[in-house]
Amino acid sequence: MSAAGLASLLPLPVAIPIGGAVCAPLAARIDRRAPLVIGVLGLLGSAAVLGAMAPRVLGGEILSHYMGGWVPVGGRALGIAFAADPFGLVYALAAASIGAVLLVSTLSELGELGPRELGGYACLFQLLLAALIGTALTADLFNLFVWFEVAALSSYGLTGFFLERPIALEAAFKVLTLTTLASFAIFIGATLLYANHGALNFAQLHAAVSGHPHTADMVALALLVCGFATKAGLVPFHGWLPDAHTAAPGPVSALFSGLMVSLGVVAIARIALQIYGPSGGRPILGLLMAAGVVSALVGAILALAQDDLKRLLAYDTISQMGVLVVGLATAVPSGVAGATYHLIDHALYKSLLFLAAGAIVHATGKTKLSEMGGLARHRPGTALAFTAGVVAIAGIPPLNGYPSLGLIHAALTESGQYAVNLAMLAAQVITVAALGRAAYLAFYRRRAEAYEAMVPPRTGMVVAFWTLGATCLAAGVFPNWILDHAAAPAASSLLHGAVYASGVLAAGVHLPALSVAFDYFKVGELLTVAATVLAGVLLAAAYLRIAEPRPIRALRALHTGSVNDYAAFAATGILCAVAVLAL
């Protein structure tokens, strides 16, 4: 198909899931599982449309489409633009295909719910995925805000899905408060930019702010980044994240953690790197680096101290988002490519881990690590899936964490940021310890008493395990293929904001090719992995024997669970960011 023909298909990947969402409550009247089946088919359709664009877009071409035929005149755009660049396409494709897998898993895990529940669930699930795909494809700032709000509204519904569970309601209230604060920040930021430059299109904004941004532009940048950092769960905006994940059903936690949280990072990458560009945004890179390092460390430390399995995984998500943002903030090709790679990896292995955690809850009804144990004998499949996820996060080859973490570490060494690299390695050691401890407590230690009745695993869950696990393995075994065909073009798009901008305005623009290579058998990297894993295992073994150390207790006490306190952390974060960037 021609480039123009393909570009005119751009609204479809978003429109199909929205259509599915609208049909879901109606389809539930015919058959209660019909909405989920429609959802799986719709998302596969979205993925197929995106896949049809993939060869051209990942080859460096940028496809753009203006809604309603309002094409730009003389470099000024009035209409809402959708543009597929490699970075957005990779994320959209991951969202559509992993979303389909999660719905398959839902089909068997929550399949006994009534038609009303399943209709509503499928509706919100697809709406959230449509919002994620829209975020990845849009090239208009206000449209980005609208997708953020669509994602937010559907996430409120999914967090509080089990209305009869008090903690789900509590979590929903915290998510609502913090996300609403974030939406104000984004809204005011977008308005400021529009009031200053009279433009919302990313291409025009790039032209206006990438050279010499005014103070007002920097305030807008701070507000936008803080707003999306709330969605990404970066410290100090993270108060909602562990609660939302603890309360939601398994596949919803997987969707939140693997895909929705990354929405924030995708938007931050677009705004800070692509629109503001390296020349206009030096202080922002420092700020992102700091937020990333703090998130990586705080998330990992809190994960180590958790007793609730899903809460532990949620804190680890904060840590992983920190690692991602550090990779982006290096603003060098290998770091940004590593971050894109890590984005996909995280979506894969975190979904796998949350589905495994959900499967344990489904089988035994237990959520606390202290009540589990010996599950490797009773549930070898789940144990294998969970262990694969842990090995991937630990960055052990041949699974997929190894190349992406290796690239981020290499980028930090290249750009001479040894202190940050050291902090990343420390966070990695604590992450290994936290997840190793969880795997040991849940699966590999002995349990004296037998479990009461255990529910057998269902086909859909097993299918999801195998699909995600196999993709994790494939993404780890063929790093250079992924780098050449996905991560390096994505990095090129993020680092060449001017090319992206001209691609949004006119057809036939090609991104310059970046060559990022990963040496699989580099001795230094392999030794680093061995050292971090060894240190992590020792730390986990030590942590199992001692009482909770005082600094960790203090850090946990800071997370009071009060919505006022979390809002105060977020407000302080916004004020600090504005002060750093505008002064």
Partner: protein
């Protein structure tokens, strides 16, 4: 006098934020967020203002305004007013969700005190 609008917006926003940070009653938190929301509407409508402009309706201009004056663009900024409408719609939806969650919390926890609704912490 558009400056007064900006100051009013800033004041209302700050009052709303103060309520969210300091009041523990969940309903009051929702009210604080609604105040912040309203202040953004005021900010937006004020940003759309231009001296001596008419409403951004581009057919049959009112009074003495000629069509050519309209075409030269002495109208209030329609895009910002459009934002404002979108924000109002979103705001109503979010407040609805907020209040329904607050009602269910009141039913389950038998309290609306944010200091007591914190089973999830640490």
């Amino acid at each position: 006098m558009i400056l007064a609008n900006y100051l009013a917006a800033a004041c209302v926003f700050s009052i709303g934020l103060y309520v969210v940070l300091s009041r523990r009653n969940l309903i009051k938190i929702v009210m604080g967020l609604s105040l912040m929301e309203s202040s953004t509407y005021l900010l937006l409508v004020s940003l759309a203002y231009r001296r001596g402009s008419t409403a951004p309706v581009l057919t049959s201009p009112p009074g003495t305004t000629s069509m050519s004056a309209l075409a030269r663009g002495n109208v209030a900024d329609p895009v910002l007013q459009n934002f404002c409408l979108t924000a109002i719609v979103i705001g109503v939806a979010v407040t609805g969700v907020f209040l329904s969650v607050a009602v269910r919390i009141a039913q389950h926890y038998r309290t609306l005190d944010a200091g007591e609704v914190r089973a999830l912490r640490g």
